[in-house]
Symmetry: C2
Subunit: 189 residues, 2 copies
DNA sequence: GTCTATAGTAAGATAGAC
DNA sequence: GTCTATCTTACTATAGAC
């Protein structure tokens, strides 16, 4: 034995993701990651030869894929903009577990001066997200400029509501954001 | 000599603040703090016997005082709500150096599960901020409920725009937020 | 008040047995 | 594939000279 995995890849990635979200990159020590996954450090290195950096990169990629499949993809189908926004809200609620989870794009962001290994991934994630959402709003009849602005504001509000929910230890601001999201995006001005 | 300070208290605190903003609590090692301030580690311990935790706590307190004097105080004077918001915008621009600095309330926030030494300070800072800003909006003629909501949204948008400015390495979202802030707060709906 | 030197601990990472 | 044991480095923190 011991040739069989104590924890399957998907569950492992979920645990790692949770830990990086809770502790950030620096705060998530290998000891903490080990306890969170039930694997010893050496076992983690066996699965991620690149160590913590590789773990965080794969976590970031997996989150990107999840967002692509669950949030971006529905936004590019043939249903109405209203329905798209509704689906997105539901998926965001799931993704951030009702405001109790921080966003990796915030928790893994590096100091500006020292460009870290995640900088480009995070920047691209934000840009893709803004563009995709913006396209939906154009489709709903808004101008390109107004659509871009609303998309940026919505994502900023999402990030801010998560920061405040964490800081105040109360997810109500995130929930309130989600509730207002459709209006924020689609209301005629 | 060496009985005279290499760096005065205020400049020292400014450097420490900058470092915690850039690196976060875990990321700001004593080596980094030492280089940033020009003081050796032992000298830092002489000034802050409680070590890094005391440094961060004092940084947080000082930032709270600055906000109290420069942002909260003007909000409670006798000038018009419009002028108050204008002053606040200007001071926020200064405080966050045009969107190039992160917010300590985000960078020092601890993981929810492990209540850190800053949790209560951060929570209180958000609450005071929301209440003070909300009162200004009540004064401008909005209902208590609407005022509270707008204040929360404005601060969330501020936090989010900072997160995104850092993540995208471009302060334009913060600048855009600042520009729209008066409308966001005072527009009749 | 600041420094060099160093203790003690925890970090990231690897070797080799099973 | 997982483990214990270990290495090396970096970290927080302290001692003691000037």
């Amino acid at each position: 034995m011991a040739r069989t995995k104590r924890i399957d890849d998907d569950t492992l990635m979920t645990k790692l993701t949770q830990t990086f979200r809770d502790y950030g990159y620096e705060g998530a020590s290998l000891n903490i990651l080990s306890k969170a996954t039930g694997l010893q450090k050496a076992s983690l290195y066996h699965r991620f030869p690149g160590g913590k950096e590789e773990m965080a990169l794969e976590v970031l990629n997996r989150a990107g894929n999840w967002v692509g499949e669950n949030i971006v993809a529905p936004l590019t189908t043939d249903i109405s903009p209203e329905k798209k926004i509704k689906i997105m809200s539901k998926k965001l609620d799931e993704f951030y577990t009702g405001g109790n989870n921080s966003c990796l794009l915030n928790m893994l962001a590096s100091p500006e001066m020292v460009k870290g290994p995640f900088t480009s991934h995070i920047k691209e994630a934000f840009e893709v997200w803004i563009k995709t959402l913006s396209n939906v709003l154009v489709e709903s009849g808004l101008s390109r400029k107004e659509s871009r602005k609303r998309a940026e504001n919505a994502i900023a509000m999402l990030q801010g509501s998560l920061v405040m929910s964490r800081g105040m230890n109360d997810p109500k601001l995130f929930k309130s954001f989600l509730k207002n999201l459709p209006n924020m995006l689609l209301d005629n001005k």
